[in-house]
Amino acid sequence: MAAATHAAHATHDSLRIKRAGLWLFFFSETILFGLLMSARFFLEGIEREHLDQALGVGITSILVTSSVTAYMAETAIEHDRRSDAMWWLLGTIALGFIFAFGVGYEWATAEFTRHEAFGTVFFTMTGVHAAHVLSGVGLLALVAIQLGRGRFSSKDHWPISGTIMYWHFVDIVWIFFYPTLYLV
């Protein structure tokens, strides 16, 4: 009896532990991105270089929309609607790719080079962020494949939730990076 309740506690706890661990990881990553942001202000103050404003607001909207679709995917799996969740996940992946292409296009058409100070911080910040976006796309693809194979349900969907939390985190980082690079 005592052992049984202990085991029940253990599974409940283990989800809680994973969630808290992931948050700590985000916290730690926040410092990483925060340092890059401070480097931008340290080197350039709040000067802003000429950037393609329409492209900036466009890719930001796309990434934020992908966060909404990711949330919808998680909500769907929490209600055991597997095929809905699958479509939302695929939509998120597609939006992630569009965002990455947008950044690539910005890189290709930028009016400054990486050898000058603003270019240095711009390419580093967008580059580190894009690496996170691409790894997020990879993780989403992995959970989508497993979802397609019939894993996950409302009782067991931590890998989906964790990945989507990561996706939201990457989105929040961009929400800070976008004004830092384009608007300030």
Partner: protein, 65 residues
Amino acid sequence: MGSYRIGWIMAVWLIVLIFVDFSIAQWVDHDQLRFSLLTIGTLAEAIPIAYYFMHISRVWQGEVH
């Protein structure tokens, strides 16, 4: 409030704020004011995402099912 509805409301809220931020950047000329307004706008996007999308309160409240 249904979970899906939260998603739609958030979608509208975030898109509106992106364009508010964008407009602030175009039309506010005073450096410090622009910086402060953008900071507020950014936080107004990030905090609801952390709360509604990332379920930060489950860290201390436990899982809800």
